[in-house]
C-alpha cells in the first residue's frame, strides 16, 4: 500500500509539515466542512481541503488521517503548522485545484 512519502513523490506535493511519512494512505476524503470529515472520513485517508486553520490538525488526529493536503495555493496558518508539528501530522500543499489533485490521486490509488 502507498505511504505518504510515495504520494508526495508521485503526484508532486509541497511539504509544509513533515509528520509520519510512512503512514499508509488507505484512500482519500475531500471536504471543507470539518463536521463532514468528522462524520465520514475513515482511518488512514488522505484529506484534501481548503481550510487552513488549526482545527484541521485536531480533526486529522482524532480521525487518524494519514495527512492533510491544502490545495489552490493556500498555506496553513502559523498556528496550524505549530500544532501539526507537535501532533506529528503531515501537511502538504499544492498550487493545483482540488479537482486536479483529486484526479491525480485517484489514478495513483487505483493503479496500486
Amino acid at each position: 500500500m502507498l505511504k505518504v512519502n510515495d504520494v508526495i513523490e508521485k503526484i508532486g506535493l509541497d511539504i509544509r509539515v513533515s509528520g509520519d511519512m510512512h503512514k499508509h494512505v488507505t484512500g482519500c476524503y475531500i471536504s471543507d466542512l470539518l463536521s463532514d470529515v468528522m462524520a465520514h472520513s475513515k482511518d488512514g485517508e488522505l484529506w484534501i481541503t481548503l481550510q487552513t486553520h488549526p482545527n484541521i490538525v485536531a480533526v486529522a488526529v482524532i480521525k487518524g488521517l494519514s495527512c492533510i493536503v491544502i490545495t489552490n495555493g493556500r498555506f496553513p496558518e502559523p498556528d496550524t503548522v505549530k500544532k501539526a508539528e507537535s501532533e506529528n501530522i503531515t501537511i502538504l500543499t499544492t498550487p493545483k485545484t482540488t479537482f486536479e489533485t483529486a484526479g491525480l490521486l485517484y489514478n495513483l490509488l487505483r493503479s496500486e
Partner: protein, 145 residues
Amino acid sequence: MNIMDSIEGCFQLMGGDFTNAGTASSELKSTLSKLGVSQEVVRRAAIAAFEAEMNVIIHAVAGTMHYVVSSEEVRITLTDMGPGIEDIELAMQEGYSTAPDWVREMGWGAGMGLPNIKKNADRFKIDSVVGEGTTLEIVIYTRKD
C-alpha cells in the same frame, strides 16, 4: 483490557479557544490507547469526545470534560456554562445548528455534531437548562458482548 479499578481524569475547556480545540480529546484518545482499550472503542470515544468538546468551544463560556474508564465502559461527561439548548429534539436533528456564520466558515456548525455523538455512543444523554448550561453523558461499552 483488565482494569481492576476505574481510572478517571478531567480537562478544562475554554469557550472560544479554537486554537487549542481538540487537545482534551486527543489526550483522551492517547490515554485510552495506552490503557489497552480496543481500537474501535478508542476511535468512537475520540470522535464523540471531540464533537462534544467543539460544542463547548463554539457555544459555551467554559466547561469540563470528565472521563471514567472501567472494565465495562468509557464514560465521558461534559458540563458547560453555556446558553443551554432550548429544544433538544430539534438540536438532535441533522442539519440544525445555532452556530454563528464565522464558525460555519471554519467548517463547523453544520448541525452534524450531536447526531455524530449519538452514532458513536452506546448510551447518550443530554440535560440542559436554558441560560445555565448543558451536560452531556456519553457511554461506550468496552466489552464486545
